[in-house]
């Protein structure tokens, strides 16, 4: 009991470095006019928080980014699940899809930005495609591997019981692969969030935290940049925490083995 209590009291030593960094930052901003311009003081950052909240700017852009990340995640992960299943189940699909999948995956995702900009414009469509792709890649891989590794014996049992191919997939392959599919899904969430911010930085049209940052950079608003970066980190952390909790809840049955 005592041990678990102490676990929840954070070690004071962990706070030293972050606080030092913040103090050093604040000190830099007070050096002279030049530094005050480059580094935002704590007071300025606080004023920035109040300003962004009052104008509703923060909320609008958080909403746009989170919505984009989740929509892209849903689209990309569903497509990834379908393609991954197909490649695992059908040899023909494997031969046709695998080489193209691996070839396209080599290109750094954000390296595709100029191409998508020419094809789909500079706004929401292109952003959504980048985010969906980022979620697509890991789910294809984890779905395929999860289903590929299902014990052949299980499939043989299915054949003995004269189950159809669909029934074997639905009753045997899919449930056995589900935990790994979910691992890919949680990876996809992290990638989707990264791709959301990245695509918003590179496609200048529309709303989003990345767009808010680019505008702040052009206006030399360091306070806004610091706040938005912090918000991006917190949101990313919360989303991954949510996935972790969901995974623990969904796959309780697995720990019985």
């Amino acid at each position: 009991m005592q041990n678990s209590f102490y676990k929840w009291v954070p070690d004071w030593r962990g706070w030293v470095l972050p606080i030092l960094v913040i103090l050093a930052w604040d000190a830099m901003s007070r050096l002279d006019a030049n530094h005050a311009y480059a580094f935002a003081s704590l007071g300025q950052i606080w004023d920035g928080v109040v300003g962004l909240c009052q104008s509703g700017e923060l909320l609008v852009n958080v909403h746009a980014s989170v919505q984009r990340a989740l929509t892209g995640l849903l689209l990309g992960a569903s497509a990834g699940f379908l393609v991954g299943s197909l490649v695992a189940v059908s040899r023909t699909a494997n031969i046709l899809i695998t080489p193209i999948y691996h070839a396209i995956r080599q290109v750094p995702l954000l390296g595709l930005v100029p191409l998508f900009a020419l094809w789909f414009g500079n706004g929401d469509t292109s952003k959504l495609i980048v985010v969906s792709l980022s979620a697509f890649y890991p789910v294809v891989l984890s779905t395929f591997e999860g289903m590929w590794q299902v014990d052949r014996k299980f499939n043989e049992v299915g054949q003995v019981y004269r189950l159809s191919r669909w029934q074997i997939y639905r009753r045997i392959t899919l449930p056995a692969a589900l935990p790994q599919v979910f691992t890919g899904f949680s990876l996809a969430l992290a990638f989707a969030w990264l791709a959301t911010i990245g695509s918003e930085l590179l496609f200048t049209a529309g709303a989003g935290l990345g767009n808010l940052m680019m505008n702040a950079q052009e206006a030399s608003r360091m306070d806004v940049l610091i706040i938005v970066t912090f918000v991006i980190g917190v949101l990313g952390y919360l989303m991954s925490l949510l996935i972790k909790l969901a995974s623990a809840h969904l796959f309780k049955w697995r720990q019985v083995h």
Binding site: D11, T98, I100, L110, P114, L118, G198, I232
Partner: protein, 255 residues
């Protein structure tokens, strides 16, 4: 061997089909040149960019940033990661900050760094260094933490000197996972560099693509996409090849 060849040839079918469809659709002339260019035009542009030395210039600029940034970040990362795993004091002070920093995608730091450092060379090197450092440091930390406690106990019982402890136990045990960390860090560094060059650069493969985008030169953009893909792929393969050559022993048993 023959089976491998058969497999290889089968895997060529769909890329060749794709190329054929691409070539055919482009030749049919349904789309304008800034939407779709033929594979032949992309090839011609590639030859032109090689001939006039432009591609070499961009690649040189990109590689310089990549290697400098990655080199700095990786060396510092390995050392710091091991230090943080071995010393409880360093761990207590630094790990929370590390875990916090990890939550922020490196790409989100680009605007702040541009504002602080400008768009010069130093900005691109630092963003790559940061990406490499954090990834490698965490890999080295996890790897060292993963070395079985039993080994350390045996070392203590035998009063193994510190240098022997490092040379015979820690380094061999953590090399395989650290190498994997280096490989991942390198591909992340490459991605982040291309993104940084797209946003702000006067040279580099990313800037070449960005210029192509602004001038509606789809052929230049396509060449850039293929080259970035090839570079990423080759580096990844190089790391995997080196991993097999340099590390003959398998990963150690986990704690």
């Amino acid at each position: 061997m023959t089976r491998d060849w058969k497999q290889f040839l089968l895997f060529l079918i769909s890329p060749l089909l794709l190329l054929l469809v691409w070539w055919w659709v482009a030749a049919a002339g349904w789309y304008s040149d800034d939407i779709l260019v033929s594979p032949a035009a992309v090839w011609a542009t590639l030859e032109e960019l090689i001939a006039n030395g432009e591609l070499a210039l961009h690649l040189k600029a990109s590689f310089f940033r990549l290697l400098t940034g990655f080199g700095l970040g990786a060396v510092a990362g390995v050392l710091f990661g091991i230090w943080m795993a071995i010393s409880p004091r360093v761990e207590a002070f630094a790990l929370p900050l590390f875990q916090g920093l990890r939550q922020v995608p490196t790409i989100a730091l680009i605007p702040i760094l541009i504002l602080l450092l400008g768009v010069d060379e130093i900005f691109k090197v630092i963003i790559v260094t940061k990406a490499a450092f954090l990834t490698v440091a965490l890999a080295a930390y996890d790897a060292t933490k993963g070395v079985s406690k039993n080994y350390f106990e045996v070392a203590r019982i035998y009063h193994l000197p510190k240098t022997t402890l490092y040379r015979k136990l820690i380094v061999p045990a953590i090399t395989p996972p650290v190498f994997t960390g280096l490989r991942i860090a390198f591909s992340r560094s490459w991605t982040i560099l291309v993104a940084a060059e797209l946003l702000a650069a006067d040279s580099g493969i990313g800037q070449m693509m960005q210029l192509g985008r602004e001038m509606f030169r789809l052929d230049v953009v396509m060449v850039g996409v293929v080259i970035t893909g090839l570079v990423g792929f080759s580096i990844d393969k190089l790391f995997k090849w080196a991993e097999i050559r340099l590390i003959p022993w398998p990963a150690a048993a986990k704690a």
